[in-house]
């Protein structure tokens, strides 16, 4: 089945992807974000927080956003001032 997967970490891509039936959000997270802790991320399905055993359904919209994002002083800035 197909779901919409939005990853706001790193490349920040949003795309449709195929997953197996009865895949839980926890399984999807561990597949997509290996070596990462789920408590470091805001995980939403259809814009709502869900329990980790939530089973994904066709056309669900999954968003994963880090709770901590490092800002930085840029080397090259994309703005006219400064």
């Amino acid at each position: 089945m197909q779901i919409m997967y939005i990853n706001n970490a790193g490349g920040g891509f949003a795309n449709y992807m195929d997953i197996e039936e009865n895949t839980s959000i926890e399984t999807l997270f561990s597949q997509k974000m290996p070596n990462e802790e789920s408590h470091d991320y805001l995980i939403r399905v259809n814009r709502q927080p869900v329990p980790k055993d939530y089973c994904l359904k066709e056309n669900d919209r999954v968003t994963i956003t880090p709770t901590k994002i490092d800002g930085a002083r840029p080397v090259l800035q994309n703005r006219p001032r400064h």
Binding site: N7, R47, D70, R79
Partner: protein, 339 residues
């Protein structure tokens, strides 16, 4: 109902801006493709000229053309790479009006009140008060200019405004370790923020900005939190803590230890620029402790003045007096001289 209408209009504005952004990207691809085609044409022309030169045994001309082709081929690899980078970017599908509208609802649910200024085309969210490493920075308003989303690749379409500013001691434009002059340095968030705006995911945009504001990266701040209450030396720019900065009462600025000193007479602290050097004792003194010598009118410190006369003049006076009291050889009696 009125608010709903307002939000629908705003969602339409976002879609328009996102559509313009997409158009801009296509124009960029078009320009890169034209540039690349021109390079290909140049190589083709040179190939023909090279053929002619070789067939006619014009070895000098052939060599010149060979060098030009070689030079152009070096640029060719770079142009090809640039074209590939532009063309490989997967453009997301245009979001639907209902998707953008759903983003607004999610913002209100996740981040609190969504402020809308339809006239200015501005969407804003106010964060909770932010405290990093025990330093309270207050709340920030994240103002997204919808009309500027289409210029995303040229300038930042949003501003971060400190509502209860507690700026860095050394730079009042830095209201957060990663915010200067209302611009956020996105760091790791740069690409996902851009992608969120390209796709009209405004809730993700506001969420990520909030997460950056709530995170401190000590590796690359405008002003480190450990130096937050410090002052920038007015002379050399070095950041110093409150306890290590020296205030010059003459020019009303703060200075570091190296750039400040004290008057040896009155002990007032002043910057190096406001301190003067007494020409007699060579010690630093303030302008109030320098007085003119009554004889030579040079300014010297009050310690070096004796009855308003400087040490140099006193010494000169003594020398003159000594010379006057010294017996003159011409006055010596002849009889004594012969003895």
């Amino acid at each position: 109902m009125k608010k709903q209408k307002k939000l629908i209009r705003l969602a339409e504005m976002i879609l328009e801006s996102v559509c313009q952004l997409k158009q801009q990207h296509l124009r960029k691809v078009q320009s890169q493709l034209e540039n690349f085609c021109q390079k290909c044409t140049d190589v083709s022309k040179d190939s023909h000229l090279f053929d002619v030169a070789v067939e006619r045994n014009w070895s000098g001309a052939a060599e010149k053309i060979r060098l030009r082709i070689s030079r152009n081929l070096s640029d060719f690899a770079f142009d090809l790479q640039r074209l590939k980078e532009v063309i490989d970017v997967d453009r997301p599908a245009q979001p639907k009006l209902s998707d953008v509208f759903a983003e607004f609802n999610q913002i209100e649910r996740d981040l609190g009140q969504l402020n809308v200024d339809l006239k200015e085309g501005v969407l804003s969210v106010i964060t909770d008060p932010i405290t990093l490493d025990d330093i309270s920075l207050g709340s920030f308003e994240i103002k997204l200019n919808i009309g500027a989303i289409c210029r995303l690749y040229i300038e930042s379409p949003y501003r971060i405004i400190a509502l209860e500013p507690n700026p860095a001691g050394s730079n009042e434009n830095v209201t957060h370790p990663h915010v200067s002059e209302e611009y956020l340095c996105e760091g790791d968030g740069h690409v996902p923020i851009r992608r969120a705006l390209e796709e009209g995911r405004v809730c993700d945009f506001f969420t990520m900005i909030t997460q950056i504001l709530q995170t401190y990266n000590p590796g690359s701040p405008y002003v480190a939190l450990k130096d937050w209450d410090g002052y920038s030396c007015y002379d050399c720019g070095y950041t110093v803590g409150t306890d290590d900065s020296y205030y010059c009462e003459n020019c009303n600025e703060s200075f570091c230890d190296e750039c400040s000193g004290y008057c040896k007479i009155c002990d007032d602290t002043l910057c190096r620029g406001c301190l003067r050097e007494c020409p007699d004792c060579l010690e630093p003194v303030c302008k109030h402790c320098i007085k003119p010598c009554q004889e030579c009118e040079r300014g010297v410190c009050t310690d070096c003045l004796e009855e308003n006369i400087c040490q140099t003049c006193i010494e000169n006076r003594k020398e003159n007096e000594d010379e006057e009291t010294k017996p003159n050889e011409s006055n010596v009696p002849m009889s004594n001289a012969s003895v």
